[in-house]
Amino acid sequence: MDEVLVECAHMSCAYNSTLAIKNIDLTVRKGDFIGIVGPSGSGKTTLLKAILGSISPVEGHVTKKPQLRMGYVPQVETVDWNFPVTVLEVVVMTRSSTGHLPRVTKDERTDALLVLERLGLGGLENRHIRELSGGQQQRVFVARALFHQPELLVLDEPTSGVDVRTRHEVLHLLADLHDEGVSIILSTHDLNGLAAHLPRLVCLNSEIIADGSPVEVLTPEVLEQTFGAPMGVLIHGGMPVVVDGVGADIAKRMSRLD
C-alpha cells in the first residue's frame, strides 16, 4: 500500500456557520492523481483549502504526512496580471521563508531556470507575466509550485477559462509530472475535457457522492445526484463522455425533425 500523504476523516468545514463541505472521508496517497468534480458552490475549493491547511475543519480532522511539501496553483482568474512582476520573480517567490533580500541568488536562478526549461518556458524568465499566452501563464504558476519540489501538487480549476489548446497543454503537463512521481489533486468542472482523463475522480456536492475511476463514477445517477440535473453518459473509445441532459433532449427532438 502506498504511503498516505493526506487523510481527511469525517471532516466538515464552514464559512460563517454555514457548512460548505460535510463528513468528508478522503485519503490521498503517494502517486495519486485525483480530480474533484462538482458544480459551482459544491465545496471543491474549500476541500482543497482544507487539505492545504488554509482553513480549519469545524468537525473531524485532516492528517498530513509530517513535513509534507505541497505546491498550490490557484485559479488563474484570481491572479492580478497587471502586478509588476516577471516570470522569474513569480517562480522564486515560494522561497520567501529562506530567501529574504530582493536579489535572486545564483543557485535560486539556476534552479528556477531549470524548472522553467522543464515546463517549456525557457527564455521567458525576464518577461512580465501579462506578456504570456494563457497556457504559458498557467505553466508559470505550476513552475512556482514545483520550485520547492512538492510531493503533492494541488491545483484549483487549472483549465477554467482557457482555450482547448491550453487545456491540452495543461493536461499533458500534469500527466508528465505525475509520471515523474508528483502526486496531484485538482478541482475541475470540466468533465469531458479534463476529469474523464484522470485515473480517479471524487464527485462532490457538499459531501462525497462517489469516489472511483471515471468509468465507475461518471454514471447518469451519480452525475444527477452531484450536479442536480439530468445527464447522459456515452462511452467513446473506452472513455465516458458526459452529455448534458437538455442538450441530449434537444438533439433527440432535432433528429425527429430530420
Partner: protein, 284 residues
C-alpha cells in the same frame, strides 16, 4: 547673476524652512516607499482613513496637553483595533467600518478643537500641515521611521512581495501573511503619525498614492518600483516645498500639485503603455 542665485537660496537662510524641507523630503520618500504597497494592494482608502483617525488623536493630545506622538499614536492604534473588531463581526464590511470609525474620530477631533483649542489656527495646521511647527524631534522621528521602513522592506522583501501579489498562496507556502499585513499597517500608521504635522491630514493620502502610481507607469518591476517611487516622492516634496516659498502657497498643497504634475507628464509621455500598467489600480 549672483543676485539671482542668492535669491534662489533665500529660503535656506531660515531654520524653519530647512527643518521643513528636510522633513518633507524624507516624508516624501517614506510615503513613496510604503505607497507601493498601498497602491498595489488597493489600500488607498486605509491610508486616507488612518490619517483622519490620527487627526482625532492629534486634536485630543493638543487639548489635553499630552505629547503629540503619544496621544496621536495611541489614538491611531485604538482606531485600528476598533476597525478590526467591527470588521471581524462581519455585520458590516471593512470599508464601512473604516468609514465610520475614522470619520467619527475626525469629527471628534474637530469638535474638541472648536470647543477647547485655538480653533482656527490649530485646525488649519493639522488639516493642511505647517512647516512653521516643524521641530528637531520631527526630523528625528521621520528619519527613524524611514530607516525602520527601509530595513523591514529590504529584509522581508520576498515575504512582502508574495503577500502583496498572492496572499492566499503565500499563506500556504509558509509566509505569515497576517503578521506581514500587521507590520505594514504598523509602518503605515507610524508614517502618518510622523508626517502629518508637515503634510496635513487631508493631503497625506495623496502622497501615499501619487508617487507609487507614477512609478508603476514607469516600470514593470516591483523591485524598481520600490526605489523609483521614493525618489519621485522625495523630488516632489523637495520641489513643492521650495516652490511654496516663492509662490506663497501652502507647502503640502504645492507638494501634492508638484506630484500631480509629474503624474500628468508621465501619463502623457508613457502613452498607452503607462495607462495599461495603471489600469489594474482601480482606486487611482
Amino acid at each position: 547673476m549672483s543676485f539671482v542665485f542668492a535669491g534662489l537660496l533665500t529660503p535656506f537662510r531660515y531654520e524653519f524652512f530647512n527643518n521643513g524641507i528636510i522633513v518633507a523630503t524624507i516624508a516624501g520618500a517614506l510615503c513613496g516607499l510604503l505607497g507601493v504597497f498601498v497602491v498595489l494592494r488597493g489600500m488607498s482608502y486605509i491610508g486616507h482613513g488612518l490619517s483622519h483617525a490620527v487627526f482625532g488623536g492629534a486634536a485630543a493630545s493638543a487639548v489635553m496637553n499630552v505629547n503629540y506622538f503619544v496621544g496621536a499614536g495611541v489614538w491611531g492604534v485604538a482606531s485600528g483595533v476598533i476597525i478590526g473588531r467591527i470588521a471581524r463581526r462581519r455585520l458590516i464590511g471593512a470599508d464601512a467600518a473604516i468609514g465610520v470609525v475614522t470619520t467619527a474620530s475626525f469629527a471628534l477631533g474637530l469638535a474638541l478643537l472648536n470647543r477647547y483649542g485655538q480653533a482656527k489656527k490649530s485646525i488649519e495646521a493639522v488639516l493642511f500641515g505647517s512647516v512653521l511647527g516643524v521641530q528637531t524631534i520631527d526630523i528625528v522621528a521621520v528619519s527613524a521611521v524611514a530607516i525602520l521602513s527601509v530595513i523591514v522592506v529590504v529584509a522581508l522583501y520576498r515575504a512582502f512581495l508574495f503577500a502583496t501579489f498572492d496572499p492566499e498562496v503565500a499563506q500556504v507556502s509558509g509566509v505569515r501573511v497576517a503578521w506581514i499585513e500587521a507590520l505594514l499597517m504598523g509602518l503605515l500608521s507610524l508614517t502618518i503619525l510622523v508626517t502629518m504635522r508637515v503634510i496635513g491630514t487631508l493631503l497625506i493620502s495623496a502622497l501615499l498614492v501619487i508617487p507609487a502610481s507614477v512609478a508603476r507607469m514607469l516600470t514593470n518591476s516591483f523591485a524598481r518600483m520600490l526605489w523609483i517611487s521614493p525618489v519621485i516622492g522625495a523630488v516632489s516634496a523637495f520641489t513643492g516645498m521650495y516652490l511654496s516659498y516663492f509662490l506663497d502657497t501652502s507647502a503640502s498643497a504645492t507638494i501634492i500639485l508638484t506630484g500631480t504634475l509629474m503624474f500628468i507628464v508621465v501619463y502623457a509621455a508613457t502613452g498607452l503603455r503607462g495607462r495599461t500598467r495603471i489600469s489594474g489600480l482601480h482606486h487611482i
